[in-house]
Symmetry: C2
């Protein structure tokens, strides 16, 4: 099995990308091979510095880079030999089983939509993130930014997508799905969440437990929390800032340390035909390594096929 | 000056209400008098237990109670001698200059809308809350639940209402107003926030600094943060849960301790003709006391008149 990494993506690329890939290669030895995609002249010397530890890594040359500030769709179209475009081409061709990048988020979404494409039947793919649970482990929160506005049918599908991820990747037997709202009562929420509630409660593929509130993100009420991408993005960034403040104050604790984005390393795009993960722009080697391990877990679990067969029926 | 308190509102009423009122009376001695509104037979004995400390408190008898689970509009209409209805009548008649309650939030909103009424020109009043700032002091976040869905014009007005509160009650000279979004760029956000952005940036009454993100809630980018009531409510409840988790882990710190709802005690309803504050259902005596002090500060600042004169023009 091969897991690809955009060696040019992220504020500290290619150094952090190469270092993270070497860390991941050690952990995945015998199970998967890491493929770095990027400018050979920049990446090769960094690999050589790692000596034997980097021997198992493959390097695929890509001449162009999509910068962080570039217009995603335009850059993706114009830079067909960028590391992101090459990565998606390899993913679509089945040459690698997951593609990870800490580069331009918008370009990663564009590639997901136009290269590997949404699964037939999925209205709109979503970006998922992970919320640490007080009782241990993680829950899943989606969407966190792919779709600022959502129709009720999209929120319903996010419940299915999140539930499949929780089941097949996180190993949660019968994931509880909750809809983020301002009150537990069925009638609480916006017109969109109220309509989504009605769809979710009769959906046979999921175990819907009803509305949850902002206070329930870290408790055991729900394993999968559904919201629109605007709300999810605001929540995610607020949680990240809480971790940064705690860290600056040297207030450490095993639960709150899991708020650190490095612990998970990336956010999968769910509802597309292959496994793609978007990393944080400031990704460190540890974050890159964990993103690659997540890519391996997704590929190993067959989550993309599970999603395809669910939405086909 | 008189500040009224619903003695029957909150999970621990009337005990917590009376105890909190006695605390506040000591702090407001010579400046304002506390008026308790509730069932005399339940409240009088509790006041007597406080002896001389409760001597300055006034008690106004109200025979009925709106319970926490009751339908707000129906209960408000049917229970005209409830502590909430009597409180709003006294507020509207000018017999008291602020009314505070930790009781049924919906009934408090109904009373605000139908008794003291929105200020002429205000589309929809909002509930405000306070976010601690790393550099000290508080910022203001609105709406946190009065309006799950908002039109761009409502968000624009929330910017004006929050700005006036920050200026006249919090004492911030030229409050910076930020619009919650998923990115700083003008084009990021939902169709509603994008349209609100265009209105806010040409509004002459406020100092609009543009979009902010979830990570900016606690830094100095904005003193006033605008969002719809669904998003604000989810954020507020998540922040409260963070405090509860830190508290349970005995991780205390002056900044994070300000996440404790007790430190502020209540959420003002902004955009109505008088000063009304809604407290948390679980309000302790400390929370009740701080809600009353906030009521005094609002009355003292003349914030309601400032809002009226701004929206008249």
């Amino acid at each position: 099995m091969k897991i690809a990494l955009d060696a040019m993506g992220g504020d500290f690329a290619p150094q952090a990308a190469v270092d993270g890939a070497v860390l991941a290669a050690a952990k995945l030895a015998g199970k998967a091979q890491i493929v770095l995609i990027g400018q050979e002249e920049a990446v090769r010397p960094l690999l050589q510095q790692h000596g034997a530890a980097a021997a198992s890594l493959e390097l695929v040359h890509a001449t162009q880079i999509i910068e962080m500030g570039e217009h995603p769709a335009k850059a993706y179209q114009q830079k067909q030999d960028s590391s992101i475009a090459v990565g998606y081409r390899m993913l679509h061709a089945g040459e690698v089983e997951a593609f990870c990048s800490a580069g331009n988020t918008g370009a990663m979404l564009v590639g997901a939509m136009f290269s590997v494409k949404p699964v037939s039947g999925v209205l709109r793919p979503a970006i998922a993130n992970f919320t640490p649970k007080l009782a241990g482990g993680y829950g899943i929160l989606l969407d966190v930014g792919a779709n600022a506005e959502c129709k009720p049918e999209m929120l319903e599908q996010f419940g299915e997508l999140g539930s499949l991820y929780a089941q097949y990747v996180l190993g949660i037997a019968r994931p509880k799905v909750g809809l983020m709202s301002l009150g537990e009562e069925e009638g609480k929420g916006t017109t969109v969440t109220q309509a989504a509630h009605q769809l979710l409660k009769v959906n046979p593929h999921i175990h819907f437990i009803g509305n949850i509130e902002g206070r329930d993100l870290f408790n055991d009420k729900a394993d999968v929390v559904i919201c629109d991408g605007y709300t999810g993005n605001v929540l995610l960034k607020m949680a990240e800032s809480i971790y940064e403040i705690l860290d600056a104050k040297q207030m450490h604790d095993p639960f709150f340390d899991k708020f650190n984005y490095e612990a998970i390393g990336g956010s999968p795009i769910l509802g597309i035909n292959d496994n793609a993960i978007i990393g944080h722009g400031v990704s460190t080697p540890l974050a890159i390594c964990n993103m690659l391990l997540q890519g391996y877990q997704m590929a190993e679990s067959g989550i993309a096929d599970q999603i395809k067969s669910t939405f086909k029926s």
